[in-house]
């Protein structure tokens, strides 16, 4: 693949051309020249777009696509197309499929689906067999097939001894154990954050306490076992504080937060709109403020879309019966820029790769081209026509977002949105 990118503003603090506008020449997937003006040597494809900015390729640590088992929600191929259209060059795929991805063969199947794709797919295997929370899955075997982490998606490991053993066992091969932060006996049948809004709506609440107990438990376990722990999608102020303290103690813990938990509060549920039914639930403004602070000071390592396509049949029902989750890839860049500066947004979108086994490559001569192309200034109202996913369950419908993606260059391939 040979490409000449014309007049692109480079946003990459690791690049010597950071914050400057340059032409970038890519030959056979490698950056061979960066200069104010590069002439096209051999009639290569030229990319010349309005207000073009480029950065390192973006990474998302938590997406779900549905295949196998829930193809009506989305397929792996269309999911990867969605990721490419949204600027992501690498996504970590959750094992919440049917059957659950919990074996070497399953990981191999997922990898085969993504073979030679412009987007790098990083499969996450289940932590326990069939994600039932009883016995460990074959973690080592999945690891050898390419699983980058182990996670029972959105399912708490309620047995603390099992979590202890998981952390100990995975440390043999430096495996990353993920633990969903929710103590399910406390969350009970809750469907949204416990507060004044849940009280007013008569909906059962999930107290912040349910998350914080589990985070505290897992940090205690980690301190005892050693090993590597990732806590996906935290949502409360106290969780941020607990993890901040753990990092001071040098525990090997990382965590993430979903963009919608940085963007909305539980008041958005006022009308019983099931598009706002997500897990962990939308919390209060105090939590949102603490989470944003946690992202800024580095306590929170990754911001994820927690992209989760759900077909309309599972969303257009009574609130209690609706599935949790929102798609998020398509709206990620535009939503983040409503919270953070462009510089911070790009830093967030390119962070955390090494934790999931991806090598970051900067925009410098000699590096493999792994680039996201975008216009950071386009303002638009996010609507169904912006959705690439098969499912339309977006929490950001009708939000005014800032910034549009042009495409990606990755894996010696290019994807450009038409």
């Amino acid at each position: 693949m040979n490409i000449l990118i014309k007049s692109a503003t480079i946003i990459d603090s690791k690049s010597e051309f950071h914050n400057t506008t340059q032409d970038v020449l890519i030959e056979n997937g490698v950056i061979t020249k960066i200069a104010k003006r590069v002439t096209n040597p051999k009639n290569y494809q030229e990319i010349k777009l309005e207000n073009l900015h480029i950065s390192q390729g973006w990474f998302d640590s938590s997406v779900s696509f549905g295949e196998p088992g829930f193809e009506e929600r989305d397929t792996i191929l269309n999911g990867l197309k969605t990721a490419a259209a949204s600027g992501f060059t690498a996504v970590a795929l959750n094992p919440n499929t049917n059957p659950v991805i919990d074996s070497n063969a399953d990981i191999t199947f997922i990898n085969s689906k993504a073979h030679r794709n412009v987007v790098t797919l990083l499969p996450i295997g289940a932590l326990t067999a069939s994600s039932k929370g009883i016995d460990l899955a074959e973690l080592y075997d999945m690891n050898t097939a390419g699983a980058v982490a182990f996670y029972d998606y959105k399912k708490p490991i309620s047995n603390p001894n099992l979590m202890k053993i998981a952390l100990q066992y995975a440390s043999n091969f430096d495996g990353l154990v993920c633990s969903f932060p929710q103590e399910h006996k406390i969350s009970g049948n809750g469907v949204m954050n416990e507060n004044i809004t849940s009280t007013t709506l008569g909906l059962k609440g999930i107290p912040a306490l349910a998350e914080e107990l589990q985070v505290a438990r897992d940090l205690f376990l980690l301190e005892y076992t050693g090993g590597k722990l990732h806590i996906p999608t935290i949502s409360t102020a106290t969780s941020v504080a607990l993890i901040r303290e753990a990092k001071k103690k040098k525990l090997d813990v990382t965590c993430s937060v979903a963009i919608h938990n940085l963007y909305f509060t539980d008041e958005a549920l006022n009308d019983f709109n099931t598009h706002f039914k997500v897990l962990p639930p939308l919390r209060t403004q105090t939590d949102v403020d603490a989470l944003i602070e946690g992202v800024k000071d580095g306590t929170i390592d990754m911001v994820t879309t927690d992209h989760n396509p759900i077909d309309v049949e599972q969303k257009k029902v009574e609130f209690d019966y609706a599935e949790y989750g929102s798609i998020g890839l398509e709206s990620a860049f535009g939503a983040l820029q409503n919270i953070f500066t462009l510089k911070k947004t790009i830093e967030i979108l390119t962070k955390g790769k090494s934790r999931f086994g991806v090598t970051a490559t900067s925009i410098n001569v000699g590096e493999k081209s792994n680039i996201t192309l975008f216009n950071p200034d386009t303002k638009y109202t996010f609507s169904k026509q912006d959705i690439v996913s098969k499912s339309n369950n977006t929490i950001f419908e009708n939000e005014t977002l800032k910034g549009k993606v042009y495409g990606i260059i990755s894996n010696n391939k290019v994807h450009l949105n038409s």
Binding site: T199, T200, L201
Partner: protein
């Protein structure tokens, strides 16, 4: 003639003060009607109403049905045990099938909070919420306020305590909204395990001592403990609950004033209220039931007049 600000009755929180006033004035008229020898008016001869009960109910269902018949509406009854809901049909499909038979109004009881709100967004009919999970039960709150108004002259300035299982109660929530809208002061009283943690943010007082609560109030609305909604024991035994939160004659007589006792039914005699209290002159429990018909006639009549426009 004035009209309601809403096209559905989904909850008290969607109403304003004038709406409640209008419903009460209309109910005054209908209360006079149902005490006539011929208890029926021809107002809604051209209206068809479906009563959809996806959860058990005796008095609310009978009360709505009677109200509809007193207004000369055509009435369809439906309950989930006979329906296709159990065969996997969605709520929207079930209701749209009924509506395609030319039904104008739906009265719905449903176990899920927000079911009425959800339905109102997806079907073309006027919806009356007859209780949705632990969310709202607006006609119950209206008839409760109406009964207080009848007994004490006005709701404004009165002190009302709601006693019992607040956590699982749509009656409590609707009553809080209705009473506050009319300028009453509200207190909730019960074991802490049955009081939502954040209920004080609604501007209600929280009390865990029944005697203190009763000494404070003008009216005590005694709720039933909803064992069927509990996933765990919120108190050790009925006996112990009654010891702390049951109203008996001795307790009432020891207060420094005579308070009014209400209950939305069904009563668990000897649990939250003893028989001698339920049957005493301080109790307006049966007045509530009678007023329920007048209030529901008023609500149906006012919403139907908006359909006709």
């Amino acid at each position: 003639m004035s009209e309601l600000s809403v096209n559905h009755l989904l909850g008290i929180k969607y109403l304003n003060k004038q709406d409640i006033q209008l419903i009460f004035e209309t109910a005054d008229h209908f209360k006079e009607v149902i005490n006539r020898p011929i208890k029926k008016v021809p107002s809604l001869r051209d209206i068809t109403i479906a009563n959809l009960f996806f959860e058990n109910s005796t008095r609310t269902k009978l009360s709505f049905e009677l109200a509809e018949k007193r207004l000369s509406a055509d009435v369809l009854n439906f309950s989930s045990s006979q329906s296709s809901v159990k065969k996997g049909e969605t709520l929207i499909d079930t209701v749209n099938n009924i509506l395609s038979m030319k039904v104008d109004m739906v009265v719905m009881r449903h176990p899920n909070p927000g079911a009425g709100v959800f339905l109102s967004k997806h079907v073309k009919a006027s919806i009356i919420n007859a209780g949705d999970g632990a969310h709202e039960h607006p006609t119950q709150a209206l008839l409760d306020s109406y009964s207080i108004r009848e007994k004490l002259g006005d709701v404004k300035g009165k002190k009302v305590v709601i006693v019992g299982d607040i956590l699982h109660s749509r009656v409590a929530l609707s009553n809080i909204f209705a009473l506050q809208l009319q300028g009453a002061q509200v207190m909730v009283c019960g074991p802490k395990t049955l009081i939502p943690k954040y209920i004080d943010k609604l501007g209600v007082k929280v009390e865990t001592n029944l005697r203190t609560a009763l000494n404070w109030c003008d009216v005590a609305n005694m709720l039933r403990v909803q064992n069927e909604r509990m996933d765990i024991s919120y108190f050790p035994s009925t006996r112990e609950y009654t010891q702390q939160f049951g109203v008996n004659k001795e307790l009432l007589n020891s207060l420094n004033k005579e308070i009014t006792i209400m209950h939305p039914g069904p009563i668990n005699r000897g649990v939250e209220i003893t028989s001698d209290v339920a049957d005493s002159k301080q109790s307006i429990i049966l007045d509530q039931v009678q007023n329920g018909v007048a209030i529901r006639m008023a609500v149906i009549y006012l919403l139907a007049s908006k359909i006709k426009q």
